[in-house]
Symmetry: C3
Subunit: 474 residues, 3 copies
Amino acid sequence: MVSNEFAIAIMAAGKGTRLKSKHPKVLHEIGGRALLLHVIAAAETVVPADHIFCIIGHESDRVRTAVAATGVQFVLQPEQRGTGHALQMLKADFELSGRPIPQHLLVLSGDVPLIRPETIAAVRDTHLREHAAMTILTAVPADPTGYGRVLRASADKPEVTAIVEQKSLRSDQLSAPEINSGIYCFETAALFARLNALTTNNTHGEFYLTDIAAMLVAEGKRVVAIKADSVDEVLGANTIAEMMHLDAAMRLSTAHRLMAQGVTIFRPETCVIDAHVTVGPDTIIEPYVQLLGNTHIGSDSRIRSYSVIQNSRLGDNVLVRNGCILDTAEVANNAILGPYAHLRPESRIGEAAHIGNFVETKKTIIGRGSKANHLSYLGDAVIGDGVNIGAGAITCNYDGVHKHPTIIGDGAFVGSDSTLVAPITIGAGSYIAAGSSITEEVPEGALALGRSRQTTKPGWVAARKAAAKQNTNS
Amino acid sequence: MVSNEFAIAIMAAGKGTRLKSKHPKVLHEIGGRALLLHVIAAAETVVPADHIFCIIGHESDRVRTAVAATGVQFVLQPEQRGTGHALQMLKADFELSGRPIPQHLLVLSGDVPLIRPETIAAVRDTHLREHAAMTILTAVPADPTGYGRVLRASADKPEVTAIVEQKSLRSDQLSAPEINSGIYCFETAALFARLNALTTNNTHGEFYLTDIAAMLVAEGKRVVAIKADSVDEVLGANTIAEMMHLDAAMRLSTAHRLMAQGVTIFRPETCVIDAHVTVGPDTIIEPYVQLLGNTHIGSDSRIRSYSVIQNSRLGDNVLVRNGCILDTAEVANNAILGPYAHLRPESRIGEAAHIGNFVETKKTIIGRGSKANHLSYLGDAVIGDGVNIGAGAITCNYDGVHKHPTIIGDGAFVGSDSTLVAPITIGAGSYIAAGSSITEEVPEGALALGRSRQTTKPGWVAARKAAAKQNTNS
Amino acid sequence: MVSNEFAIAIMAAGKGTRLKSKHPKVLHEIGGRALLLHVIAAAETVVPADHIFCIIGHESDRVRTAVAATGVQFVLQPEQRGTGHALQMLKADFELSGRPIPQHLLVLSGDVPLIRPETIAAVRDTHLREHAAMTILTAVPADPTGYGRVLRASADKPEVTAIVEQKSLRSDQLSAPEINSGIYCFETAALFARLNALTTNNTHGEFYLTDIAAMLVAEGKRVVAIKADSVDEVLGANTIAEMMHLDAAMRLSTAHRLMAQGVTIFRPETCVIDAHVTVGPDTIIEPYVQLLGNTHIGSDSRIRSYSVIQNSRLGDNVLVRNGCILDTAEVANNAILGPYAHLRPESRIGEAAHIGNFVETKKTIIGRGSKANHLSYLGDAVIGDGVNIGAGAITCNYDGVHKHPTIIGDGAFVGSDSTLVAPITIGAGSYIAAGSSITEEVPEGALALGRSRQTTKPGWVAARKAAAKQNTNS
């Protein structure tokens, strides 16, 4: 493909009034990512980013900033006067900038986020194969009522005779099954030559791209249609409820992709799995699990219900018990987490290590086979292999001004309810007595205590009661 | 409307045998509230509470107690001998009490909880406009089989010719689409004049109100029908499974109301949102969130999955991370909670404050920008602005007999694992060393320590092992 | 029934290639149990375990080990050459072993796990009543396309004329509604006499049991069909997605069974309830609850959302708040747990006891009315009646080598953040001061302290800041 043969325009100027939101429509998120970013990602599989032109308008600065990192181009449509007007702006931009005009132009909608790369490629391929002036992507929903319909000369032929809005359908056309997706491919010259002929003689007073189809057909040019495999991928979202439908559809499709690769996902429709998550075979995902962002999970692992794992990397045979929260963490093979373990960013859990209930880690490395099983906070710590962190032990990493590190050597035993006041080093093989506040370095193999001796006062409770009674009586 | 023009009778005497429950049917809860309370709430939008007559029978004392606060009237139906019998009891009550008889009587079912105020009003308005002796609310389900059917003289006319039970339908009537909801409006005089003519010549040996329709039609009186917009709102619940269906329908409809107002609710069918909850636009509700009772959430907030918020008030731009439990709490703008924060009643979290993981608050005020991020229990405390509560710090508010308060001044730093023995005051800007037990007042700007100095015994671990070995050998 | 009249063969030799799993298909779990174990459990209701013959092949050792405890017999099918071949192996096994041949042979599939005992019995009874040579279990799905179809002589007669694969259906047979479930009953002699006549003249080159039906019909033997009540119970699982469908169906059917018994289960399709769980009437199960294994819950209890209860026994009027995890625990009447309580194996919670948020118990007995409400770890402990365990109190049950017990007498008060260093005994009615490390026995009624006296240094914070400033300046 000649580099300049194809370009893609993405309609991204609308406000989305029916969303009742202050955010521009194409920045609303489904599947963990803005609508427009989904469309750009699909478009990028067909043309390079600098051949993608986002036509922006409403809150254009916010939209531009949100997607700038993709490297796409932007064209401003200051007023939103219809899809035809959007491409008039694009044409003007080409003319002003002197940019070479691509031979073909694919038009996508920034609010139709489930469009698949395969489908965009199919539109392109059909367009080329059919030598069409315009190629229309259609779909066949269960009930086409309300949609604009694409009429063909013959049901089994690609040639289109008209695009007709619902209200203009003749009674014998009411059951026409194919709807217009609003996704097109044009021979750019044929399109640009007709854009100025568009009028606003319609209910909304806008310039409609569908009128180009009518012009081309009237002039005997070739307009063809191709059906999308599923309806969901051409559905837009005009209301939040519709957007939520697309979110669920996108994530369910990811779950089905993983199941087809040998991952067991109980109640797949209840899980929230982002599109780029990867999971090895024979891993079991229980209901109500969330795997978000760039998460990878190895094979033979089990993720129990209500756990939320984001941007993390887990090995093989890892057991994540119920309700764990992981964010930007790494977990090696055979580790066991939770229930209710909370791994914050830069937590690295070693092979076969255990992080138990109500334990929080942050910027902390836990060595091979080490255990912190109950009610601990471990922050800014480097913990060796085979270490035992007792229940309730806490790294005091913050002195009100700075954060300080805690270093614990291999095989150390940190007694329950210990307070490790950082910066501090606990030597390998050392032993911290339960209930100790540790403020000074502990050498290898040493015992450290930092607690008071017990005092016992026999009969105290009875005496206190007697005194209280006397007080009440007096 | 003349105050005595309309009254409403609500059938609430039944046992609900098929529920297999010891509780009376109308006290079973859906959407967080007893069935009967939903019906009363809808009825109260049309007539004042003292014009509503609940006809009670099975476990009448419990039913009366459960709804007494609404101010409705009660009529006892000691035996449950059918809907006609229920209104005979109502008539007798009017006669005995000498209460003025209302001109029109609306009849609702205490176990049809999704009935909407708009629909009750529509029945009333139709009744008046049509000058009917009896007006019947109908619905058109996908499959009417099994339901009593309302037959009209003509499909597009309001006049009813008969109500026919499923088993009495002629073959040409089997597909009659309109079902009888059991919700009626009567001209009271016309009704009361015929109640004594009802017989029990039917399968169940009960007095049926539907026979009144037959009498009125036979006498040439005007009986009309009006269709409900949806089937759900006339559905009763005879089994627990049916009741659960109504619960889900009620809550989903609340989710859709909020989405239409600009709230993003991912997987809306998975959330549990009570009818009176309000949420500002551009707030995001993740899947599996529960918003219960009189909860209000501001704009631009985010409630993450598995959080349950009941009778609480949250401001704008609040972030509630996963798994937080809030009950009767207040949370100011820009605060961050969780994951797994537990705010018990009378918790008031200040602006931009942070309550982190495994932290519980109860009857506690947290000032602006203060932080309690890990593993704390804060009870009966008043905490100022800019305070830092270290990991594991605990207010010891209970001495085995009484609860005592803890007061912490602005800018204080409470070290990790501190134990604050209440009653106690920690002065503004003071500093509590990690691991301290604090039993006495700490002045402003002071340092307080309450921990032992560390003792270190080098070589202790090796010595212990040697001793243990010798013990084993000896 | 003569003990040797019936035997059951279960097809369990397949690999399940489409699962993309290294585990044999019949060992994949749904409803908390391997597919094959579900089928064996159903089969055992009809014949004794030693009359059940599992035909195993792929990973036969693993399959044998996984189900050996049921007492079934095994027959090896070393190569998987079709259902007919499987029964050839069975026949050979009977012949070699000299085992008496049963008069009738029921054939089940190890990957059709929802088959109900009632349905197996109905196949058996039909087979006997009809004096059939072969009885075929059928089902009528919404869309039979793709399935082998069972054709009858007449729709209302039991006699079968043919089993026809989808691709061999004549156009007038395409809508034949009854599909072949692959579940059969044979007169064993009639079957065994024809097994050697099977050929592999088919697409997959396998020996097919369906060909036996054709032979029998051709010879004028009686082949009859009986319809299953539901389609789900004859569905197999060839993909993980299909298996997940069966899992959801199985668990939903359990939820419906419980609701019919008077249990309220909100959003029943969201709960995960294993087949053998029992729950008393008027207990309320909130959405997203999991009741697993051999769990029993009494009456009038409430289990709040996100709780997971496995192999545990709960009494009446127990309240389990959100997010509790119970494994092999016992909870007496009127107890209150959670939110986020974690009861590990051998936890026994007494009547009206409270275990609160972020509390973990393990091998621990809690007496009547005792409370451990916040942030505790209680392991290897025996705690009496009326004990109060303060927030953050911890049993230090592990010294790095051994686990030791903690005994706490009735009515003791264990102050917040106490550290109980086991082995240790805390006497009845004694009082442990908050923040204490307790290492020695506490007598009945005594006060024990193990904490340092507080030291306060007025003006320290200002002095430190001044020093820091000087350091920065110098």
